[in-house]
C-alpha cells in the first residue's frame, strides 16, 4: 500500500478548490538502473475525485506525469465540513483512496 495522499480542499464562495499531492514513483519504464536493466514502468493510470457520490474529476495518466503527482482543480458546490474523496489505480493494480474534509 502506498503512502497516503495529501489532500487540501477549501471552499471559497460557492466553489471548492481541491489540491492533491500523491505519493507515487511514476516510473516511466524507460530508465535503466546501474546494471543497465530497464526499470519496469510503474505509474498511476486512473484518478477519480468524488464529492457526495458524484464524480467531480476523473483522469487518465501516462508515465509522463511527474513523480509524486500533484493536481489542483475547482468544482462548484461543496460546503465546509463535507468530504471529498480521491482515489487512484496504478498499472500494477495497486489502489489507494483518501478523503479530506472541506475547510
Amino acid at each position: 500500500m502506498a503512502d497516503p495522499m495529501k489532500i487540501r480542499a477549501n471552499a471559497v464562495g460557492d466553489v471548492t478548490e481541491v489540491k492533491v499531492l500523491m505519493s507515487h514513483e511514476m516510473e516511466t519504464g524507460l530508465r535503466k538502473d546501474a546494471q543497465g536493466t530497464t526499470i519496469p514502468a510503474w505509474f498511476i493510470q486512473n484518478v477519480t475525485a468524488t464529492y457526495n457520490g458524484k464524480t467531480v474529476l476523473s483522469a487518465q495518466w501516462g508515465p509522463a506525469v511527474a513523480k509524486n503527482p500533484f493536481v489542483s482543480f475547482k468544482f462548484k458546490g461543496g460546503a465546509k465540513g463535507e468530504k471529498v474523496m480521491i482515489s487512484w489505480t496504478d498499472n500494477r493494480g495497486d489502489k489507494r483512496t483518501d478523503e479530506a474534509t472541506i475547510a
Binding site: V15, M26, T28, L30, R31, K32, Q45, N46, K54, T55, V56, L57, S58, A59, Q60, W61, G62, P63, A64, V65, A66, K67, P69, F70, V71, S72, F73, K74, F75, K76, G77, T89, D90, N91, R92, G93
Partner: protein, 158 residues
Amino acid sequence: MMDAQRRDWLKQSGGITLLTLLAAAGWLKSGCAVADGWNKSAFDTHSLDETMKALGGGAPAQSIDIAFFSTPDIAENGAVVPIGVTSNVAKTESIAILIEKNPNMLAAVFDIPTGTESSLSTRVKMAQTSNVYALVKADGKYYVASKEIKVTLGGCGG
C-alpha cells in the same frame, strides 16, 4: 552422466518456462482489469495526428480560448514541470496535456464533468525542450493551444 545433466537442465528450464508463462498470464489478466478506462493506444502515440486518431477525434482547431497559467517558459528541471490549463471554450468536456518531444506524446487526460471548472494544474515530466499542447474537447469538437517550454535538464532517463 552427461545425458542425465542435460535431462535435468531440460526439466528445469521447462519448469521455468511454464512458470514464466503462468506469471505472464496472471499479469495479463490483472493488466486487463486495470486497463478498464485507460486508453492504452492513446498513451502510445508519437504525434498529434496519431493521438487524435486514438482519441477518436479529427484535427483540432487552434483556439485562443485556451490559456496556460503558472506554466514556466523555461523549466530548469524537466522531471517536474508545472502545467496549468484553463479552457474558456463553452461546454469543455475534457482537457489533455500533450508533450511533443516526449517518448510518448500524451501525458494526461482529465475529464471535466459539469459543475467542475475547466481549469486545472498538474506537474509533468519533459525529456527536452518541446512544444506542449493543451487539447480541449468541447461539445464533441477538439481545440488546441500550444506553448514552448525550454528544458535545461531532461526528466526522462539519464
